[in-house]
């Protein structure tokens, strides 16, 4: 259902663009390949010396057994970290999407005082990197922190999710506002006249039309939560994959191929989402209305 581009681009030009794009992605693809290859090898392949490299699944076995430090008997719970990461990522995704769609709808559809101001503030907030805000955010954390250790653990999850989502919300509000702006009022009204309730109109007409936008901010939110390290490290009582890998990189006895396996695991959702959502993100509905 996507709208095709104006049919004017020449073949030669298209080839030219493709070559540039491929050339630009070579370093990135190389880096990823080295990482993934290393995770299946007995040593890092970063020096491109393949003579001593042997294929092995041991890194992955060790990773899931939690035997990170090869020598020590210390065991880490990789599954728990994976779960923690997922909780934070889904949490951020859901909070971002809920706030983004609802505020985006309000800002696009309802004319209220201070609407412009809110939009401008959102843009400014988006310009500030999360690391700058962290002192203030930490202050609030200390202010509300429960003393009970068990409660603190849950609170820290909640806090990380909300604080991290707050960084993503400005962009998602802008994005959703844009999507709602594209929807003509008449389509909404038409559904109402056809006999739909407000809720039905939302579910049957609005939602399907803004789906690409919703999926986009869901994915952005998820990836933001999944990738975050600063907020997680500052506030979360437990570890996620990101902090887990980071702490082991610093360790003296770090066994690199194993960390490569951990890093590959950490990369999977990102790669998965980029590939699966590509098509969807470019889908824009058009037609059926005269502008």
């Amino acid at each position: 259902m996507s709208l095709s581009d104006v049919e004017v681009r020449s073949k030669a030009r298209q080839t030219f663009y493709s070559i540039i794009l491929i050339a630009l992605s070579v370093p990135v693809i190389m880096a990823f390949s080295v990482l993934v290859l290393s995770s299946f090898a007995n040593q890092m392949v970063t020096n491109f010396d393949f003579s001593k490299v042997k294929f092995t699944l041991r890194n992955w076995q060790l990773l899931f057994q939690g035997r990170i430090a090869i020598t020590g008997g210390l065991r880490e719970n990789t599954f728990l970290y994976l779960l923690n990461t997922a909780v934070v990522a889904f949490g951020v995704a859901i909070v971002t999407t809920l706030v983004g769609t609802l505020s985006g709808y309000a800002i696009s559809r309802i004319k209220f005082k201070g609407r412009k101001f809110i939009l401008l503030m959102m843009l400014m907030l988006h310009a500030l990197p999360g690391s700058i805000l962290i002192v203030g955010v930490y202050f609030l954390y200390r202010l509300w922190m429960p003393t009970n250790l068990n409660a603190l653990k849950y609170f820290s999850f909640f806090y990380v999710i909300v604080a991290r989502a707050a960084l993503e919300i400005p962009l998602s509000v802008w994005l959703m506002k844009g999507f709602f702006d594209l929807l003509p009022w008449e389509i909404e009204w038409s559904a109402l006249v056809d006999g739909a309730s407000r809720l039905k109109t939302w579910a049957k007409i609005m939602m399907p039309l803004i789906k690409p936008g919703v999926v986009a901010i869901l994915i952005f939110g998820f990836l933001a939560g999944w990738q975050d390290i600063i907020y997680v490290r500052t506030f979360l009582i437990d570890k996620t994959l990101a902090t887990f890998i980071e702490s082991n990189l610093e360790a003296e006895m770090a066994y690199m191929p194993l960390l490569a396996a951990a890093a590959t695991l950490y990369l999977l959702p990102t790669i998965f989402f980029y590939i699966s959502s590509q098509q969807l993100l470019f889908k824009v509905y058009a037609g059926g209305i005269r502008r």
Partner: protein, 360 residues
């Protein structure tokens, strides 16, 4: 299947007054055409009847029941939007079926009813397409089908045929009218095409600047306009409107004397100034002024042939007048003649209020 009463409807958008004290009664089963220039408030009036807008003041009654605050879904109204407003993510079939699926009808009935309206509007072959795969005219017919399929008690058409070519347009509008009469659904039809209005309306409501200027049958609107706006808006070309000065005994247009029976002076009851109007087809061009007509000397300015007829533009000093004459009559530019109009074909308007002086 319902009568509509609009009582003193005013609608403001902030400082803009889109509708100003509109009173209108539409009978059960009547086909009313709302005719007015762009920005006159036609769409606003439709949205008020459909329940999309609430009036700033005034009441709306369906069958005597106050529906002013009823939400659109409870009004059982079909509306063809000016920009169609098809659902882009649904195929044509789903678009048309949407009002029925909301009523939770069974699949068989939905299929039947959709195919019935689709065949009527000749869009059966398009049911599996998406709106963006259709031409403008096809989308328009889908929008009409969607409004018809739920068999509403009131049908509202907001310029539904503006994207069809001339031939299809006449075909579809005849079909619409026939259908409306068969189902006897009370209909309001918006257009700014006056020829279309004259062709299909039971009654025409002429609107300008948010005010209803005149409501009447096509004949009344055409031959007895109550306002210079109606005379100057309806007809192709529209009525000629000339400002006439009077000194009590002599009438002049642009300083040129206008010959008229004494009766005319009585009808204008000694006004210093008035507007004289007549339909282009009511003017004749002769080499003398005939009995019981008003006449004035004119010069031929331009002649445009329209096949069977020709539009002859003549000038009285600065004022241009259009006259419709059969093609057999020959005129040449620069020729001096007398323009004569029979007394019974004159329309007289007050110069200040622009309202009709007397109606014969």
């Amino acid at each position: 299947m319902a009568s509509i009463v609009l009582e003193n409807i005013t609608k403001r958008f902030g400082k803009v007054t889109a509708l100003d004290g509109v009173n209108l009664q539409i009978d059960d089963g009547e086909f009313i055409v709302l005719l007015g220039p762009s920005g006159s408030g036609k769409t606003t009036l439709m949205y008020l009847i459909a329940g999309i807008y609430r009036p700033t003041s005034g009441r709306i009654l369906f069958d005597g029941k106050d529906v002013t605050n009823l939400s659109p879904k409870d009004r059982n109204v079909g509306l063809v939007f000016q920009n169609w407003a098809l659902y882009p993510h649904m195929k044509v079939f789903e678009n048309i079926a949407f009002p029925l699926t909301l009523k939770k009808m069974d699949k068989r009935t939905i299929q039947e009813r959709v195919h019935q309206v689709a065949s009527m509007l000749k869009i059966e072959a398009l049911l599996e397409r998406y709106p963006w795969q259709l031409s403008g005219g096809q989308q328009q017919r889908v929008a009409i089908a969607r409004a018809l399929v739920k068999q509403p008690q009131i049908l509202l058409f907001d310029e539904p045929l503006s994207n069809l070519d001339a031939l299809l347009r006449i075909g579809v509008r005849t079909e619409l009218k026939r259908l409306q009469k068969n189902l006897s659904i009370t209909s309001v039809y918006v257009t700014h095409d006056q020829a279309e209005a004259l062709a299909i309306a039971d009654r025409i409501a002429v609107i300008n600047n948010g005010k209803l200027i005149q409501v009447g049958t096509p004949e009344e609107i055409y031959y007895q306009p109550k306002h210079t706006f109606v005379a100057g808006f309806v007809g192709n070309p529209p009525a000629n409107l000339l400002t006439v000065e009077s000194d009590g005994t002599r009438l002049t247009i642009d300083g040129k004397s206008l010959e008229a029976p004494i009766e005319l002076l009585h009808r204008i009851s000694n006004k210093r100034r008035f507007v004289l109007g007549f339909r282009p087809e009511k003017g004749v061009l002769l080499d003398h002024i005939t009995e019981n007509t008003v006449g004035i000397e004119v010069q031929i300015y331009e002649v445009e042939s329209m096949g069977r007829e020709q539009i002859v533009t003549v000038s009285i000093e600065q004022t241009m007048v259009k006259v419709l004459r059969p093609s057999e009559e020959k005129f040449h530019v620069g020729q001096k003649l007398f323009l004569c109009v029979e007394m019974k074909d004159l329309m007289l308007f007050d110069f200040d209020t622009n309202e009709a002086l007397d109606l014969h």
